[in-house]
Symmetry: C2
Subunit: 329 residues, 2 copies
DNA sequence: GTGAAAGCGCTAACAC
DNA sequence: GTGTTAGCGCTTTCAC
């Protein structure tokens, strides 16, 4: 592999000039620039970015920590991140933490060891030390910790959940089951609060029997619904994500409960598949790619030394599809 | 950030000794090792990996090129790759080429610029230069070019497709539609050949009217089926992937065609969702994580200077679910 | 077993 | 506008 020295020799200039010709062409005369370009082409030179990074002490890489790479919800967020990263000449290192704090820590260490410049975390399952006050350039997307001084990009979980439940109430439901996520998670607390807000607004008592916990997986939705329907009588169901909504839908169908005639279902996320089920799943759409784009832009701003918004709230949207009807039916 | 010099000063040894104590602890006396460890802990030293990489001229990073990160099929493959990479102290840089050759080239250039040591490509949409004879350490998974001298990890597309069609023939179907992928793609050519093999084996003429092209997307499956059923009468349908099978299923239901009673459907891949549809989708399972693991192991072997298998064929499996019944029904 | 010293390939002052 | 030079932080001979 040719180095900058070879190019310099070939072009009959110094290495500094070669470097300039490539990085700041305007700081070099037209003539030398052409000479250098010719030499580069002749020997097929491609700069050693590792050496450059060492010299400039930056890596032009950002780490994205995802709790589960096979969860489709994250794919479009990552795509949005990639798009922005690319535009700003950053590479993206995708780290799957597999829901473990240790893995997450390993990825965060990439910043300490100068292999990455910053972090976008799509998970709140982070090492405890870090939650106190992060010294690392970092942005959290979707998830957050209350009081954790890191810019976040997220949605209004409480308001969005409330809007979904409002819709069910509007079309006449009065007994609405709810499959939550892990309740130690702040966004789950928010969504549950949103559910409660809606009922309280029209003076319906909140029945604790209406809730079952899931873990955001299809299977947990499936089994949570089987448990739920044994102790709670409902005409509608609100699930904290689409995956669990689909699991619940499958369970309902197996139990001979017709969707939507006997059970209306609302999900959360708007996964690709929400549109394809039969009936289509009514859900709270999170603009996934936009979340990714915004998170990446925020991190880029932080990395450039700018002050970033502490919190950016991305609007959601209730998508009404076939999975809900009035209970009168 | 402390450097190795700081640690050396603190421990009262040379930088060389610090380096040794960390990289080859056995080459250093117990006593100095402890001194160094204490110093490292005291100042919170974490080695600058960029500097190390420059010195050793390697990056311990592999690039994975994916044509579409939001395509779930690749998620589990990537997960398998990550697992192996981690075990061998490699980082994974996930590159989404968005089906463009330019993007793919950009990711391949990471190897030239020493930012990555090798490539795993999950797409065949690569720059033409590269296809001639790759000088870069590279492994292809799933896709391949005939005659391209790079180790591949893939399935027996022809045999697998044939097994799926055999199954449909076995349960009595004689008129089997087929939604293919882009026919310039070698694996699609193979799968089509497999379809033809099955028919020819029992002396059924292959009707060119039985085929419609898709592009592996849900939507293309949907519209391909609508076209297909206008000019071809079938009791069963074989799709080159699950996404298109689901699209076709949706189209069929909309057209009032009952699945499986009036139309049996077989897919390919075994996406997570194949199990969750109603009816469950009969499909050819590709062991995605295993493909990833094998591809990564192969690349690691190449990077370590070993000779890797030129081609590894991973077995597939026909998963029979509810989407197929005998046409007599 | 340990230290001194030479670079890996590049960039950025600083001179000219 | 261009060259000289001094490192970035680490690993690795080569001596001792």
């Amino acid at each position: 592999m040719p180095t900058i020295k070879d190019v310099a020799k070939l072009a009959g200039v110094s290495t500094a000039t070669v470097s300039r010709a490539m990085m700041n062409p305007e700081k070099v005369s037209e003539k030398t620039r052409l000479k250098v370009e010719a030499a580069v082409a002749e020997c097929g030179f491609s700069p050693n970015v590792i050496a450059r990074n060492l010299r400039r002490s930056e890596s032009k890489t950002i780490v994205v920590i995802v709790p589960d790479i096979s969860n489709m919800f994250f794919a479009n967020i990552v795509r949005g991140i990639q798009r922005v990263a690319l535009k700003n000449a950053y590479k993206v290192l995708l780290g799957d933490s597999i829901h473990t704090v240790e893995q997450a820590k390993a990825y965060m260490d990439l910043v300490r060891s100068k292999q990455a410049d910053g972090i976008i975390s799509l998970t709140a399952e982070l090492p405890a030390e870090v939650r106190q006050g992060s010294e690392l350039p970092m942005v959290m997307a979707c998830e957050y910790f209350p009081g954790f001084p890191v810019p976040t990009v997220r949605i209004d979980n409480r308001g969005s959940a409330s809007r979904a439940v409002d819709y069910l109430l509007d079309i006449g439901h009065r007994s609405i089951g709810c499959i939550t996520g892990p309740m130690e998670n702040p966004i789950c607390i928010d969504r549950k609060a949103g559910y409660q807000d809606s009922l309280q607004k029209i003076n319906i008592a909140v029945d604790e029997q209406a809730f079952e916990d899931g873990d955001f997986s299809f299977h947990s939705g499936y089994s949570a619904f089987r448990r739920l329907q044994q102790h709670f009588n409902m005409t509608a169901l609100f699930c904290f994500n689409d995956m669990m909504a689909l699991g619940a839908m499958k369970a309902a169908i197996e139990l001979g409960i017709k969707v939507p005639q006997q059970l209306s279902i609302v999900g959360f996320d708007d996964l690709l598949f929400a549109e394809y089920t039969d009936p289509g799943l009514t859900t709270v759409r999170q603009p996934q790619e936009e979340i990714g784009i915004t998170a990446a832009n925020t991190l880029v701003k932080v990395l450039q030394g700018g002050k970033a918004n502490q919190d950016t709230i991305i609007p959601t949207q209730l998508l009404v599809r076939g999975s809900c009807v009035s209970p009168s039916k």
